[in-house]
């Protein structure tokens, strides 16, 4: 009985939060004529999947999707691998300036990207890498962001050191300990970092906008923007195209969800 107000709030809240979604799906399923007549009808009278086909063929969408998958997968793997190596270094070793370097790393979270954007652009331009994927991919190989490293480090700290020591007695080297002990035991944290990393690259807009010029190199975000320019008034098609962009992230979220909250909770965000 006491729980009823909680449920009411939870249900009202979830409905409010889901409305834009539900309406996106509903609009994407309306034919142009139905949308023109009854734009506000929640459940389309005649669900029509042709908007997806139209969106898919109107622009080279398959190319955009492939480009985005290429960039996102490479960056996610690079961020997880290098980020966990850095986290291993910060969590298991004592070396000169360790704490200073760790706090410097945390401080970079407060640095607005605009401060470094222009010089980095000028360097890529010098290297003739404009309109290639290099400017989007290469930075992922350098630890993959302070927040991810922090999350992994906190998780590593919660794994007993005795495990490392036992492995070392068995003759395992540091790299082996990282790969065979810490990584397998850090499933939740690794899944969270992978999810964040995937989303941030799947989602990336400003960097592709700056670096990619020719349509055959475009990622989905930039492609969608182009789509909006040419089909902006056909809301039902724009919504269908947006759903194509949204779907993979939602699917991945459901796959990772089991680990996801745990990864952050156990990392002891509250403790620090």
């Amino acid at each position: 009985m006491k729980r009823i107000p909680t449920y009411i709030l939870l249900i009202l809240g979830s409905i409010t939060f889901s409305i834009p979604f539900i309406w996106t799906i509903s609009t994407a399923l309306k034919s142009s004529s139905e949308y023109a007549k009854e734009p506000s009808r929640l459940i389309p009278a005649h669900p029509d999947f042709s908007n997806f086909a139209k969106a898919w063929t109107a622009l080279p969408f398959p190319t955009f999707v492939w480009n985005t998958i290429f960039v996102t997968v490479i960056c996610t793997i690079a961020q997880v691998v290098t980020g966990s190596l850095v986290a291993y270094g910060f969590s298991r070793f004592t070396f000169k300036w360790r704490n200073f370097l760790f706090f410097t790393m945390l401080a970079t979270m407060m640095l607005p990207g605009q401060v470094t954007q222009i010089p980095v652009f000028l360097v890529w331009r010098k290297l003739h890498a404009i309109d290639t994927f290099f400017p989007l991919i290469v930075p992922a190989f350098f630890g993959g962001g302070a927040f991810n490293i922090f999350l992994l480090r906190q998780f590593f700290l919660s794994i007993p050191r005795e495990l490392d020591e036992a492995a070392m007695l068995d003759g395992a080297g540091f790299v082996r300990i990282w790969w065979r002990i810490l990584m397998p035991l850090s499933g939740p944290a690794v899944a969270s970092v992978a999810l964040f990393s995937f989303l941030s690259h799947w989602d990336a807009f400003e960097a592709p906008l700056i670096y990619l010029n020719s349509p055959e190199k475009y990622t989905v975000s930039i492609g969608l923007r182009m789509f909006q320019d040419s089909y902006g008034t056909n809301f039902e098609q724009v919504m269908a195209a947006s759903l194509v962009h949204i779907l993979p992230t939602i699917l991945l979220f459901f796959v990772c969800q089991r680990y996801f909250l745990k990864g952050i909770t156990l990392s002891g965000m509250g403790g620090k």
């Binding site: 909680t6 809240g13 291993y88 370097l101 965000m269």
Partner: protein
């Protein structure tokens, strides 16, 4: 061969391997952060358009402050946006976290539903919201019409545009910030609440004397990063309004982008970036100084 004492060697090995493991970050930090920061500071003293570079001293800064009304407009827009969205976002996500921390059946499903909007890519979300705000048949105006209020031209009337972006930002209160609050809530030992209940503390007293102090480090984290994030709002404005109407949604980052990558005034854009950095650094330092008064760290000594 005589081996040296192993203790010393172990420390050397530790030093070497530790450094080796953090190298990816350290090298990246030097190449992608320190180097570019220095160059951008130098660049901000030049007039540079990719072809010609001319040293002008502090001219870029002076002209921004005295001769560029759009600079002030973008700063004002962004400050107002931050002033509204940061507190709303923090209290909203705290409320949602408290709600989703209740031990009720199906709470995981609700967590998912509240979190989902944050999984929507920024461009798609901008397109969806552009249509939510549509003046003729967007759902927001339909909801207003339902309760008898007149239509609002959210993205065409400059009086409302900024507030449209504030409303849109609320869609994200179930996201990462909420998860961080939730993690903080779950880190509070149940024994604290039990002790308080034994002392006869009610729900509100428990919230005020246990939950809030225990959450204060998390709140601080969200506050600092929330402000940094709010000052960098870009994608939604670029897609939905391109900064209009009449520059009502010209945010600071958008104006930097225009100067840098559309007008190729790279010196001016660098100067703007450094002003942004100075503002954020100033706010962060103030927050750190104030935090001593209200943020409680467990054990304090750490």
């Amino acid at each position: 061969m005589v081996k040296k004492p192993s203790k010393k060697r172990l420390i050397d090995r530790q030093e070497f391997w530790g450094f080796l493991f953090i190298c990816p970050w350290l090298i990246g930090f030097l190449i992608f952060t320190v180097g570019p920061m220095i160059s951008s500071l130098v660049l901000s003293l030049y007039k540079y358009d990719l072809a010609n570079a001319k040293f002008v001293g502090f001219e870029n800064y002076r002209r921004l402050c005295t001769e560029d009304p759009l600079f002030w407009k973008s700063l004002k827009n962004t400050a107002l946006y931050a002033l509204l969205t940061v507190p709303l976002g923090i209290f909203g996500s705290l409320l949602v976290a408290l709600l989703l921390n209740q031990p009720v059946k199906g709470v995981r499903l609700f967590r998912t539903l509240f979190y989902l909007p944050s999984m929507v890519p920024a461009v798609a979300s901008a397109l969806v919201w552009q249509w939510v705000f549509n003046a003729d048949n967007g759902i927001l105006n339909q909801a207003l019409a339902f309760i008898g209020l007149p239509n609002i031209e959210w993205l065409q009337n400059e009086k409302f545009t900024l507030y449209a972006f504030v409303i849109m930002s609320l869609w994200g209160i179930g996201g990462q910030r909420m998860i961080i609050f939730l993690a903080g809530l779950q880190g509070i030992p149940e024994s604290y609440y039990e002790a308080a209940r034994l002392d006869g503390a009610g729900t509100l007293a428990q919230f005020r004397h246990i939950t809030l102090p225990c959450l204060s480090p998390v709140m601080f984290f969200n506050l600092v990063l929330g402000l940094v994030g709010a000052f960098q709002v870009f994608t939604s404005a670029y897609i939905m309004t391109s900064g209009g109407p009449n520059n009502a949604s010209l945010f600071y980052s958008l104006y930097i982008f225009r100067n840098g990558f559309e007008y190729f005034k790279l010196g001016k854009a660098s100067a703007m970036a450094w002003i942004l950095f100075a503002i954020l650094l100033g706010f962060t330092l103030i927050q750190f100084a104030l935090s001593k008064k209200w943020v409680h760290y467990e054990g304090e000594a750490k």
